[in-house]
Symmetry: C2
Subunit: 356 residues, 2 copies
């Protein structure tokens, strides 16, 4: 089996994915009889390349590392933008890892819609289109019998979406609770450990590349909201919009707040929670909370993250992801690809046994 | 789709599974277009019943609750034993939850072998046959294109096996560490919380039904060994036998040991661990260990359990199952059935897209 793929977005995550695809070539051939050929790479600052005969990932990685454009790897007339790249790239599966637009998920939402309608599998690490368009995009994927997977959007590559889809199938999930944003958890951790003010901790996070130049997407709680929306829509059968979530960020948390909490045997965390009300509707909130130090969530420090599922048959299942990296996120995309290769997007066809 | 199933073993787990099958009937019909018909129940003390036209689970549950035999539900000539039950029962899928034999996995190992060879799907909660026969049974299941699933054997219904099979596909798992045995974890917890001797805590666990009359399978570490063998063989690509695992139980732990550990900021847990050595081989051990109170494992108390996976792409993934019950274990079997219904036992057939 030859699988032609394209990478749209070639930042930390896209490049880590390229490294994984290189490292796992033999595994893919031996375990899945799959040869993955990269036929296109679309970047933000290094141009676009389409080559139906295949692009050397090692060459592309080297080019970007040395600040070059990818044009030398391109075959045919030049590609002007991502839209025309997607129209012309002969990929069976597109990996999308563009920066998240927290307002409406665009332009990735339109890109993904177009790909699914043309029968192309989509694997995305981009929260925007999934938070704003999950139900529509899932219906399109089902209609065109292709995969639409997004494990890497929540808790990086930890299989928290896969667990919902595979491991918790048939349960009634009444509550999801999580610490989903690494940047704010890192900031709160540094404030406590290093006795820093909020602003000092943000600067520290920026210096080591954990916070963006404009950290508002994280500290205002938007990133957490998008992730909570993704999980709630997927696992609780609702149609939640980001604007429906009660949201409070951590920008009002002072060092005094942190120390007062610790003195009281508590720790402040930015907690995401969706819980079903008795009438069947779901209440969703993102806000800082003081948690008892006995709460396992209180022990999740730095860039680690955590999720709790409360279900009718499993009282409480907790998944903790420790010390992720861009490689971890990229691995989530790799697993999505393997699940498409294994046909996980198609409902299995069960044949009862013929008894003699 | 009509799925004919049989239950072999009708203790706490088998009866909880019956309750789930009753409760989820509508779900199965609406989501999976599946009608599950129970065509046989084989019990240890309440006889056997085979009825190709279907057995009322409610009636069977009531009969057992009132101490009756299931013979009234049986059609045809009487069934003498489990072997003849399995030969005559017209099931597409057999749920097996017989008591675990820690010595060689028999007779369940032979039962399962026979079922798979006849093209019958098998879902088991019984650790013995999986610990002693995984590779052989998996090869048989593949040969006859049927499912052989056993989520309920480790950490009850928590999807720790599903995560390995689905969520961690393509990773290289270098270490598995866990607290897998509820009984010993409960005993150690009670010793600490209630200042009990080992013997007093065992008696308490027996009184509330958490420990067996003969608690040696748990306290000697055998149950933990079987579970570690199951996980290691499935996820680390080895052929480990229970006798290969270095094993130490908790019977030598005194209240003084417990209190001394706490005074040192530590807690004693019965830890299972398989770790790959530099030469590629795997070292497996089950033994009590003093863990720092900062270790998330130290916070897993009572009958809860935990697993850590260390992989090449996910630095450390932790799954905690809180407060399980027989219903939780039964749910693991239910998920296995759904995965068979969804064709998860068949490697997906991927068709590259035809580009115009």
């Amino acid at each position: 089996m030859n699988l032609n793929v394209a990478l749209v977005g070639f930042g930390n995550v896209g490049r880590s994915l390229a490294e994984i695809l290189l490292a796992k070539q033999d595994f893919l051939r031996s375990e899945f009889h799959a040869v993955v050929r990269v036929v296109g790479i679309s970047t933000g600052r290094h141009g676009h390349a389409i080559a139906p005969s295949g692009i050397s990932l090692r060459t592309a990685l080297d080019a970007v590392r040395f600040g070059s454009q990818l044009d030398g790897l391109h075959e045919g007339r030049p590609v002007q933008d991502t839209s025309s790249f997607l129209e012309r790239c002969p990929a069976d599966l597109v990996f999308e890892s563009l920066p998240t637009n927290p307002i409406d998920g665009q332009p990735a939402l339109d890109h993904i819609r177009g790909l699914l309608e043309r029968g192309v599998h989509v694997v995305t690490a981009n929260k925007g289109p999934v938070a704003y368009g999950y139900h529509e995009l899932k219906a399109l994927a089902d209609k065109y019998q292709v995969g639409f997977f997004f494990e890497a959007t929540v808790m990086d590559g930890a299989p928290v979406i896969g667990v919902g889809r595979e491991g918790l199938v048939g349960t009634d999930i009444s509550e999801i609770r999580g610490i989903f944003n690494s940047t704010t958890n890192y900031i709160l951790t540094q404030m406590e450990y290093e006795n820093l003010s909020f602003d000092e901790a943000v600067r520290m996070a920026q210096e080591i590349g954990i916070a963006e130049t404009d950290p508002s997407l994280d500290v205002d709680g938007w990133d957490s909201v998008l992730k909570l929306v993704i999980m709630s829509n997927l696992l609780m059968g609702i149609d939640l919009r980001p604007e429906d979530v009660a949201r409070e960020g951590i920008q009002g948390i002072t060092l005094d707040d942190i120390l007062a909490a610790i003195a009281a045997g508590q720790r402040i965390k930015l907690v995401c929670k969706s819980a079903r009300r008795p009438d069947g509707s779901v209440e969703s909130i993102v806000a800082p909370q003081r948690l008892s130090l006995n709460d396992p969530f209180a022990a999740v420090m730095g860039t680690s993250s955590v999720i709790d599922y409360v279900t009718d048959t499993l009282p409480q299942l907790t998944i903790i992801e420790n010390n992720p990296s861009p490689m971890t996120t990229a691995y989530g995309m790799f697993v999505d690809m393997l699940n498409i290769v294994r046909g996980r997007h198609v409902t299995g066809s069960f044949e009862p046994i013929k008894h003699p």
